[in-house]
């Protein structure tokens, strides 16, 4: 009888019990959603789509200049793709982009000038009016121009650049969903992957690539897609030809994205070392990934050469002389820059600059903590090792790939590590520590709030 009295709902629960209920809430929500998969994916897509819109629309439609991260040339490639034209090596920038840079200026570099509306001679343009967008395969430009046509048809805008920028919300949403799928493939629930994805979406790096015209807008999608293929290959549920396709694809969007198949290969080798997969499967998969990534890169360079109508021009971001110090600086570069830094002079609110820090700490802590604390038979141990190695060595590996490919050094940029971000995020998405959920909730909430304020 006495138990009936203590269990009575009229008696308030003890504080510790209330805390327990609160701490168990993410697990209970995960279990509830797990039993309703379709609804869970629908809600996830809606929520991440909404976050992508909140993040992309204000920056994409803001008055002011074009992005200094080569958007002048990418806007021209987008304009050409909109008219069904390829951007080939040696092509001149057309009138649309020439007017954009004069009429809108360049963010953080120069304001618009009085020449708006006046035809711009080659001499007043960067690289004497020759395109630098030819270094990228046309995949992003044609897909974005296609989505842009739909956007223009349903009214939000009539402008090629604004429509292309708004298409970034779609690439971001798809990338975030692929990232959540990757986390779930490694055993994550729903709350942590969705919070991690929303935090990543609102970070300065993702805003700088998703709200402006750039092939980097597809980095998250390409990286998560490749790593999903690697995950299924490790489990024996993916045919070799699909893995090969996944390895070839990154070079046909943007060459630095080949970091995803390269570190996917490392993940397989570590999985074999930890006896989570057979050596035969790991070595076959790694060979397909490394070979496919290299073949994709070479194939794109050959196609680019065949399509060229002129000599390649020196791109400001292209190789500088080789100095050991540059390689030393590339060591650990992604640890502090992805997803914290945009690598460009974009306006970042104080709230956003502060709120992104806990997300970065959690990403590193989950990966490094996994390396130190997870047992050898834990299936997440190889992912934690691969993620940590990618954070520390990613930029260095890319520099070495460029050195081997063209004999020069390519300086590190945070956006070059975008395709690795889904790998960095897997250990955090699989974390079930209540404190991590709480910190991530606060960090992501504050970041999204900082974007809501811009509306």
């Amino acid at each position: 009888m006495s138990t009936a009295v203590t269990d009575s709902p009229a008696v308030p629960a003890e504080p510790s019990r209330r805390l327990d209920v609160l701490l168990e809430l993410p697990d209970r929500v995960d279990r509830w959603l797990d039993s309703r998969r379709v609804l869970a994916w629908l809600l996830t897509a809606l929520l991440l789509g909404l976050v992508a819109m909140i993040v992309v629309v204000p920056a994409a439609t803001a008055p002011g200049g074009v992005s200094p991260l080569d958007e002048f040339w990418y806007a021209d490639a987008l304009d050409k793709a909109d008219r069904g034209e390829l951007t080939n090596t040696g092509d001149k920038v057309d009138e649309y982009a020439r007017q954009l840079i004069v009429c809108r200026g360049l963010i953080g570099v120069h304001p618009p000038n009085e020449g708006c509306g006046v035809p711009q001679p080659d001499t007043s343009l960067p690289l004497n009016g020759v395109t630098a967008a030819d270094i990228h395969a046309p995949t992003y430009f044609f897909l974005t121009a296609g989505v842009g046509k739909v956007i223009k048809a349903v009214a939000p805008t009539d402008d090629v650049l604004v429509a292309g920028r708004l298409a970034g919300a779609l690439w971001l949403t798809l990338g975030l969903l692929a990232m959540v799928a990757l986390g779930r493939a490694w055993g994550a629930g729903w709350i942590m992957p969705v919070l991690t994805a929303a935090g990543v979406a609102a970070s300065p790096l993702l805003v700088s690539v998703s709200a402006y015209a750039t092939p980097d807008a597809m980095g998250l999608l390409v990286g998560a897609g490749v790593l999903l293929a690697v995950t299924h290959w490790q489990r024996g549920t993916l045919p070799p030809v699909v893995l090969l396709l996944a390895a070839l694809t990154p070079a046909f969007v943007k060459v630095p994205f080949i970091l995803a198949p390269l570190f996917g290969a490392l993940l397989l080798v570590i999985a074999a070392l930890a006896k989570h997969t057979s050596w035969r499967r790991a070595l076959t998969g790694s060979t397909i990934l490394v070979g496919g990534a290299g073949a994709g890169m070479l194939a794109w360079q050959q196609i680019r050469g065949l399509l060229a109508v002129g000599e390649p021009v020196l791109h400001p971001g292209e190789p500088a002389p080789i100095v050991f110090r540059l390689f030393a600086e590339a060591f650990g570069f992604y640890l502090e820059t992805v997803p914290v830094s945009s690598g460009g002079p974009f306006p970042v609110s104080t709230v956003l600059a502060v709120a992104v820090q806990p997300l970065a700490w959690l990403l590193l802590a989950a990966a490094l903590g996994g390396v130190l604390l997870r047992r050898r038979d834990d299936p997440l141990l190889p992912v934690c090792w691969a993620a940590t190695a990618a954070m520390v060595l990613g930029s260095l590996v890319l520099s070495l790939v460029v050195l081997i490919a063209i004999g020069g050094f390519l300086g590190g940029m945070p956006r070059y590590g975008l395709a690795l971000l889904p790998l960095f995020a897997v250990p955090l998405m699989c974390t079930r520590v209540p404190l991590a959920v709480l910190v991530l909730l606060a960090s992501t909430g504050a970041m999204v709030f900082s974007h809501v304020q811009l509306w």
């Binding site: 629309v57 994409a60 439609t61 008055p63 009138e95 649309y96 007017q99 954009l100 004069v102 009429c103 809108r104 120069h110 304001p111 618009p112 000038n113 009085e114 020449g115 708006c116 509306g117 006046v118 035809p119 711009q120 001679p121 001499t123 007043s124 048809a153 349903v154 009214a155 939000p156 805008t157 009539d158 402008d159 090629v160 650049l161 604004v162 708004l166």
Partner: protein
């Protein structure tokens, strides 16, 4: 379900007929954007070195780029963008036979930024000259307009004394 699809399609159709929500505030897609003609380039005269008089500095000669049978002179000068435009006088070393093929006006936002003078937006120029300029030879440029007469910085002082 059918009603929802029909409503969505009608919504999209009506949206397509409406005004754009996100119109850029500047550039080719912006409302009110108009094309304008290029400002007239400055007149260019070739002058013998012996006739060049000492002048105060003003403007700058940025580069002389030689190619087969021609060379290109670029820079900016204190000349008027409105008529009368003023004149650029190109002083070449003795013995160099040359002919001005064309001159172009170039926007120089960097000059406007540096000087704070908006009237210098179109102060830039590119002059294409037919003739062979020896590798070790320089050139001198003088400008004359309502703003005064100046010797462009970077000119060869052996051809036009300061």
């Amino acid at each position: 379900m059918r009603r929802t699809v029909a409503a969505a399609l009608l919504g999209l159709l009506l949206a397509g007929c409406g005004e754009p929500v996100f119109a850029p505030d500047a550039g080719p897609g912006a409302p009110g954007y108009t094309k304008k003609p290029t400002p007239r380039p400055p007149a260019v005269e070739l002058v013998r070195a012996s006739r060049a008089k000492p002048l105060p500095p003003g403007g700058a000669l940025d580069s002389v780029v030689r190619s087969d049978g021609t060379f290109e002179v670029t820079g900016w000068a204190l000349i008027d963008t409105d008529a009368p435009h003023g004149v650029l006088k190109l002083v070449l070393p003795a013995g160099v036979r040359a002919k001005v093929l064309k001159s172009e006006a170039v926007a120089r936002p960097d000059v406007v930024d540096a000087t704070g003078n908006l009237s210098l937006t179109w102060s830039g120029f590119v002059i294409t000259v037919q003739g062979s300029l020896p590798e070790d030879a320089g050139v001198c440029l003088l400008s004359q307009s309502k703003q005064g007469a100046f010797r462009l910085d970077g000119s060869d002082t052996a051809l036009c004394p300061a």
